[in-house]
């Protein structure tokens, strides 16, 4: 066996220098940004791509014969190619630009699922989902008389899959599940879940919003049918995201929104749709956002997702140990396989008070229900505090959080 030399470990101090926002103070303390599951910061390379596009190439795409439009179109479509490659899509025709994960899921609910649903049909979602992977299914269920059923979870924050086969049957028209839970960090065993759905012929949508920033994703190896993600959660701009779907499914789906760019010809006797993926991209798209996301993917490829995953694995272990050492702290979400997200409670101190006090120490975390109210309800708590990490975080950031938590306990004695 000719082993390739392992790539050098990620140097967090060096990558950190790529993120200008991180080098600031808040409330007179160095900023420690631990709210990456809400949104991530952007590297200089992405900011420069956005700036360069607006300064030198700005034009509408797919329309002009002039030089600028050709350049903008090439940059926009080039970004699509690189993003499609990043997730190992079979072709660029399978990658639809949308506003983000939420819009991608709504697109699938309305264009793919709605025409297939009859009263009494079922949509299966997991208890761990973000609201944006619940509410679009409730809406389409209401529109059609279908029902939404749930895959249960346990107190560790793992999905309970023993009964999954029983939940899947001929009336199940779609299974929707997150790749990584934003509230607890659980990495769901997609191989098991997708294999079960396949046995029952049920299509699967995966909400990948929280997976892309942490690990390499290969949509074809996963074997799902739809995969949704947001640029801003993976170090790219807001307002851009992607729906990946199998080409055969996209071909069969009607357009979701109508307008310019998504048609081949328009007559009052009827219009013809454009080819994929443009059929689903009505109107002037977020050109700069797509180009920015392309630059993000270049940046991530350059660092290497496997190095990022390895680095974060270590940092998560360090952070887990460090938080376990804080008196009265309870980790919420202790799945065996986790991404670098740590939800916790601290004695009887309300998470909002924790959030305000650590903020005064320069530490940004999220507090609340994290748009996952069914998770909180199952656990019987109104809210948690959540530190969510990215590859630019360091052990020093974790130490700062631990010190800030000591300050929280001091305020409440």
């Amino acid at each position: 066996m000719s082993a390739r030399p392992a790539p050098p470990a990620l140097d967090a101090a060096r990558v950190r220098a790529d993120f200008p926002l991180l080098a600031q103070s808040v409330h007179g303390k160095p900023l420690v940004y631990l709210d990456n599951a809400a949104t991530t910061q952007k590297p200089r390379q992405v900011l420069e791509a956005l700036d360069a596009y607006y300064r030198t190439d700005n034009a509408n795409v797919h329309r002009g014969v002039h030089q600028l439009s050709e350049r903008a179109t090439a940059a926009y479509e080039g970004a699509r190619d690189r993003i499609a490659g990043f997730i190992n899509a079979a072709s660029r025709r399978e990658l639809v630009f949308v506003r983000g994960t939420t819009e991608a899921i709504n697109l699938v609910a309305q264009s793919f699922l709605r025409p297939r649903l009859q009263p009494g049909d079922e949509i299966l979602v997991s208890q761990l989902e973000h609201h944006s992977n619940i509410v679009p299914w409730q809406l389409v269920a209401e529109q059609t008389g279908a029902t939404v059923r749930t895959i249960p979870m346990n107190r560790e924050g793992e999905l309970v899959l023993d009964a999954l086969d029983g939940l899947l049957h001929e009336r199940t028209k779609l299974l929707a599940v997150g790749h990584v839970s934003n509230a607890l960090g659980t990495v769901n065993p997609l191989d098991t879940i997708i294999a079960a759905a396949r046995r029952h012929g049920v299509p699967v949508l995966v909400d990948g919003a929280q997976a892309l920033p942490h690990m390499a994703v290969d949509v074809r190896a996963l074997g799902c049918d739809f995969y949704a993600f947001s640029g801003h959660k993976m170090f790219g701009p807001t307002g851009i995201g992607c729906l990946w779907a199998r080409e055969s499914l996209l071909e069969a789906m009607p357009p979701w929104q109508g307008g310019g760019d998504m048609i081949r010809s328009v007559r009052f006797t009827g219009s013809e749709w454009a080819e994929l993926p443009y059929k689903f991209e009505a109107g002037t798209p977020n050109i700069a956002g797509a180009i920015g996301l392309g630059a993000t993917v270049d940046y991530l490829v350059d660092i290497g997702m496997d190095r990022i995953a390895a680095y974060e694995h270590e940092l998560l272990a360090y952070a887990t140990d460090a938080l376990r050492g804080v008196p009265e702290l309870t980790l919420v979400g202790t799945a065996r396989t986790k991404a670098a997200v740590l939800s916790f409670t601290l004695g009887s101190i309300h998470p909002h008070d924790i959030g305000t006090i650590v903020d005064a120490e320069g530490v940004a975390i999220r507090t609340g229900h994290h748009c996952a109210m069914p998770v909180m309800e199952f656990l019987g708590i109104p809210a948690t505090a959540r530190a969510s990490l990215a590859f630019y975080n360091t052990r020093a950031d974790i130490d700062a959080l631990v010190r800030a938590l000591a300050r929280v306990r001091e305020v409440f004695h």
Partner: protein
Amino acid sequence: MDLRDLYQEVIVDHNRSPRNFRRIDAPTKSLEGFNPLCGDRLTVYLTVNDGTISDVAFEGSGCAISVASASLMTEALKGKPIAEADRLFAQVHGLLTGATDAAPEGKLAVLGGVREYPSRIKCATLAWHTLTGALHGADRPVSTE
């Protein structure tokens, strides 16, 4: 920004041991209040005799600011006429939203520290909005959103 302006001793104390933290079994009025953003929820109970608040209590769960604010409110209101409750509401609301600088007298003045923390103002106003809803006949729970 000094955290102790927000978490003053009085607030920490009223959070740790909230006053009038109980249910009134046959209240003249009661109402629930929610803050959907943080999940804070409480119920305010009132016994009113001849236009005077003879008893007031609350139950629920929330952050230190919302619990302390509710606790301080019940302390300030007991035995007061409804018109006085309305006046205090206007004062506290004015103080928290920055509409007025005239701090209410007594312990309620500590709520002024919340003003520097915009994301926490609704925590402090929740109990007060719920009170006003209960006094003036709101038939649905009060929500800060």
